[in-house]
């Protein structure tokens, strides 16, 4: 049996799945001070045979909230940069230390690190009582030498250390700094949480495999989550989009709309595989290298504030507390639904009271106004969806082939999930000119997405046959290669490396592995070919576990 638990800001949803069918689902209120209690509460609510649970997948806002609300201990950073943009622009706190050392774009060292300087910096960090330190150097994904040397000098001094090149194989120094800093900062939080989850499950008499949902809509094992907790950020929207993937297995492009109270999250699935952000997700305004789904969040939901300006009707983007029907001040789309008599909760009288002045001012019948509100909301969502797709279609490409043969994304259908999905469907279907589907279980799609997401990981390989070097930063491989090494050799090597390191990367299996990017350049020096520069990305494909239907 698999359990999916999505611990959201307001509710904790749990769902239980056995051999491809949903056994039960539950919803409890999240206790922000006691997330583990909320998890246990949701599990108890499910009323299932606990010992039969062999896997539990958690989607939490733990790291997300810790980072956004800056709820973490003092965290140190040691960074070497070399020439470029002044690295001080990227320093997030006073505990950042810039040290000597420079590596170029091909991974050649041209300024070594200074051991005494690093020991001094480590001493200062220790004096401040800091227990976690992030280590980052520019171009470390091309050569992790400096990060590793610094690590070897200070590894005994701190409890939590993360190295930039292990976060992601992508180039981007400032994002590497952010990612490494956040990762280090939330390591203790994740550590405590994980211990307390195992403890609580132990008390229930169960010891299932524990997985966490990541921003990329995949999951990873707890051991990898302890090492790279930053990957759990922004997993909330990922849960919903993966829920959409589980609930609709049609081929082609599916636009997924997760309509909530405050926002609607818009994502895209192509043949069931979610579309990712090119470099990484942002959190609290900071850009990271955390691989994650490309999700556009717009301020349009069931509880958005409805108002008029110069006789024009507006829905959102602000939220002004709960809907009037639930005791709030401002009218909302939920109140419109209440007036139309389709809600099974709330006080329709209060909704009427809140919307009447608007109806009067606009000279409209109350029910007509209610319908106008829902149409306005639907149009807003449609417009946001169009710009989301437009942005994907105007993404720059770098080859003539792609310029000439780029296939534009045209969604084949809309999958609507989330609380108000069912009631809003007619209005959304009315403004979109493609089929709109509200799948069964759309209210618990997030928990379902968490329960059913596959484990995922990605590795990056750069091979330089002139320097006869191969680097795979995510798993810390650096090796000498023969000068005749070919793209096929690298692919074979990479796929094996990913499989061999599956458990380190947090994968439960590595069955479905594919090469997502492969580039090869002849390097010409003088007038003859000096070698090949090859770049490769290999991943275990995101998607839904095969056991599901």
């Amino acid at each position: 049996m698999i359990l999916g638990v999505d611990i959201g800001g307001t509710h904790t949803d749990a769902i239980c799945i056995k051999t491809g069918t949903i056994i039960n689902s539950a919803k409890v209120t999240t206790d922000k001070e006691n997330l583990v209690g909320s998890i246990v509460g949701a599990i108890n609510e499910l009323d299932i045979d606990l010992p039969k649970i062999d896997r539990i997948v958690l989607s939490t806002t733990l790291s997300t909230n810790a980072i956004i609300e800056k709820k973490y201990g003092l965290t140190g950073m040691i960074a070497s940069a070399g020439p470029g943009i002044d690295p001080k622009n990227y320093f997030l706190t006073d505990n950042f230390y810039l040290v000597d050392g420079a590596i170029d774009h091909r991974g050649r060292e041209y300024v070594p690190i200074n051991r005494d300087q690093i020991t001094t910096v480590a001493g200062k960090l220790k004096d401040k009582g800091i227990t976690g330190v992030g280590i980052v150097s520019k171009f470390s994904v091309r050569n992790p030498l400096h990060e590793e040397s610094i690590y070897n000098l200070i590894s005994n001094d701190f409890s939590y250390i993360s190295l930039g090149h292990q976060m992601s194989g992508n180039l981007n120094f400032s994002r590497r700094i952010n990612t490494t800093y956040f990762n280090t900062a939330v390591m203790p939080t994740q550590d405590v949480f994980m211990k307390s989850v195992s403890g609580a499950l132990g008390k229930l008499g169960i010891m299932p495999q524990i997985l966490f949902l990541k921003a990329d809509g995949g999951t990873y094992m707890a051991s990898a989550a302890n090492r790279l907790p930053v990957e759990t950020i922004m997993s909330g929207p990922a849960a919903s989009i993966m829920g959409g993937a589980a609930l609709n297995k049609d081929k082609g492009a599916s636009l997924v709309l997760d309509i909530g109270g405050t926002t609607t999250d818009i994502g895209l699935l192509v043949d069931g595989v979610p579309v990712m952000e090119p470099l990484g997700v942002s959190i609290g305004g900071a850009k990271t290298l955390v691989r994650g789904l490309n999700v556009l969040s717009v301020g349009a939901g069931g509880d958005s504030r409805v108002y008029t300006k110069r006789d024009k009707l507006f829905v959102g983007p602000q939220r002004d507390g709960p809907p009037a029907a639930m005791g709030g001040k401002s009218p909302t789309p939920t109140d419109a639904l209440a007036i139309l008599g389709v809600l099974d909760f709330g006080d329709a009288k209060k909704a009427e009271h809140a919307l009447s002045p608007l109806a009067h001012a606009m000279g409209k019948d109350l029910k007509d106004l209610a319908k106008d509100i829902l149409t306005t909301l639907a149009k807003g969502i449609k417009q946001a969806s169009a710009s989301f797709i437009d942005e994907l279609n105007t993404k720059p490409v770098y080859t003539i082939h792609e310029m000439l043969h780029q296939e534009l994304i045209r969604p084949d259908r809309v999958i609507i999930i989330g609380g108000p999905a069912r009631n809003l469907k007619p209005y959304i279907a009315d403004v979109f000119d493609i089929p709109c589907i509200v799948p069964e279980y759309c209210e618990v799609a997030n928990a379902l997405g968490a329960a059913l997401a596959r484990t995922t990981a990605q590795i990056t390989i750069m091979a330089d046959t002139q320097m006869r070097r191969l680097v795979c930063p995510e798993i810390g491989i650096e090796k000498e290669i023969p000068s005749h090494y070919s793209m096929d050799d690298i692919k074979t090597f990479g796929i094996k490396a990913l499989k061999d390191n599956a458990s380190y990367l947090g994968l439960t299996d590595a069955l479905d592995v594919d090469v997502v990017e492969a580039q090869s350049f002849n390097m010409v020096r003088g007038f003859s070919t000096a070698g090949k520069n090859m770049r490769l990305k290999i991943q275990s494909t995101p998607g839904i576990i095969p056991e599901w239907r």
């Binding site: 470029g84 943009i85 774009h105 091909r106 180039l171 720059p396 003539i400």
Partner: protein, 436 residues
């Protein structure tokens, strides 16, 4: 970080295009530049935007060129996208999406002249000229344009296209033509009879470094631009003046390029040459992007930079100072040049021999322009190439007077059998005809 000026970047490295496998103009050329741009996180800086390249249409190309035998035979999709990338850069600037833009595209274009029989100096079509003509057609408010060409090679193609155009000022800083391809760009090349003084060539001695280049910008280029008052400044941002470039002999640095850009403050930069793909381009491009965006570039430095090794020779600096003084004097006296060089005749003629080094084609041209006080003057080019094609190209300029326009159509309508084709560019009416 937030850019002071909203800056757009069109990056099109054409990773699947080369002239030949070991040619400097090959797939790998912008690879390390992209690595550096990505690692520096330039695209994450607030108000720096990356835009997709586009395609230049046949019409866009015909505004700047007479392509022989036709446009499609002279270009590949890569040229199309390279020129289209420049057009996109211009579009985003002129639409106000951004204040400045940099088209980091390849292949380059500044050796392509108005008549195109083939490729020369790695260029098939002139991507700046195509962009400028696109701008003039779509945004008529742009009347005057200045090109400042900082490629190490003289931009003989851009010079040729704007030789007769008093509304496009062409300024080129380059390694002295006696020591480098294409062997032109001397101070005595200063524009056609209707645009005298509006071509400014500044040949610099080999090994010129930051002090020399920046002296030219400060004491000559900026005063000239101040006086010309262009609506738009275009920088042909070739990067082969760098001390590490394998096919030139200058000693300019990445920091120097950034400073030059900062001083020049161009609206649009277009990448031209630059073949030190590992040691120069990553740093020069990073410097230019930061300078364009109005950001601090003082930490941009090549890993192997040793300023003592490449400092300007005092004698060369003295020569450069004198050259700038003389050129500035001539600039101030440009209005008198027309009288000084005028023969009093209605037409002026020049003969040219052109060699297409990339394709091994020879061409001879006879160009005749109507000396006109009312407009930039109609002209025609009789061009014969070793490929066997002989064509006549007629150009009726922007703002042509009635007499010049009538003359242009008279030339075009005249039955001629000795030409493979007769071309017409009627700029004001945006009419491009080919009569075969």
């Amino acid at each position: 970080m937030k850019a002071r000026y909203k800056t757009g970047l069109i990056f099109f490295p054409a990773y699947d295009w080369k002239i030949s496998p070991t040619h400097p103009e090959r797939e790998e050329r912008l690879l390390y530049t992209q690595d550096q741009i990505l690692e520096e996180g330039l695209l994450d800086i607030e108000d720096i935007y990356e835009f997709k390249a586009g395609f230049a249409s046949e019409e866009d190309i015909s505004r700047a060129h007479f392509c022989v035998p036709d446009v499609s035979s002279r270009i590949t999709p890569s040229h199309n996208i390279s020129a289209g990338g420049c057009i996109e850069a211009a579009r985003h600037v002129l639409e106000g999406d951004v204040k400045k833009a940099f088209a980091l595209v390849r292949p380059p274009g500044h050796h392509s002249m108005r008549v195109v029989h083939g490729a020369r100096g790695f260029c098939n079509i002139n991507i700046e000229a195509i962009m400028i003509e696109w701008i003039r057609h779509h945004y008529p408010k742009i009347k005057k344009v200045a090109i400042v060409d900082t490629d190490c090679h003289h931009g003989d193609g851009s010079q040729d296209i704007y030789w007769h155009d008093p509304n496009v000022l062409y300024i080129s800083l380059h390694q002295d033509g006696r020591t480098l391809y294409p062997g032109s760009g001397f101070p005595n090349e200063f524009g056609g009879p209707n645009a005298m003084g509006l071509t400014v060539n500044i040949p610099l001695p080999p090994h010129t470094s930051d002090a020399g280049f920046l002296h030219v910008i400060e004491t000559l280029v900026l005063p000239v631009l101040d006086e010309f008052k262009p609506d738009l400044i275009i920088n042909s941002a070739g990067q082969d003046n760098h001390y590490s470039d394998p096919i030139t002999a200058m000693a300019f640095t990445a920091g120097g390029y950034a400073r030059l850009n900062d001083m020049l403050c161009p609206d649009i930069c277009v990448l031209e040459g630059g073949y030190s793909i590992e040691a120069a381009l990553p740093y020069v491009n990073t410097g230019i992007i930061l300078a364009l965006a109005g950001l601090d570039y003082s930490y941009i430095k090549e890993p192997d930079l040793d300023l003592d090794q490449i400092r300007d020779d005092p004698k060369s600096l003295e020569y450069i100072k004198q050259l700038c003084e003389q050129l500035l004097i001539r600039w101030h006296e440009k209005d008198k040049l027309k009288d000084k060089y005028s023969s009093g005749e209605e037409y002026s003629k020049r003969n040219k021999s052109i060699y297409y080094d990339t394709d091994g084609i020879s061409e001879t041209q006879t160009e005749v322009i109507r000396i006109c006080d009312e407009c930039p003057g109609v002209f025609k080019i009789d061009s014969a190439a070793s490929t066997g094609y002989r064509i006549l190209g007629i150009h009726i300029p922007h703002g042509a007077c009635k007499a010049c326009r009538d003359k242009g159509y008279e030339w075009f309508d005249k039955p001629d059998s000795e030409f493979y084709a007769v071309y017409l560019q009627d700029m004001d009416n945006d009419i491009f005809k080919v009569k075969k």
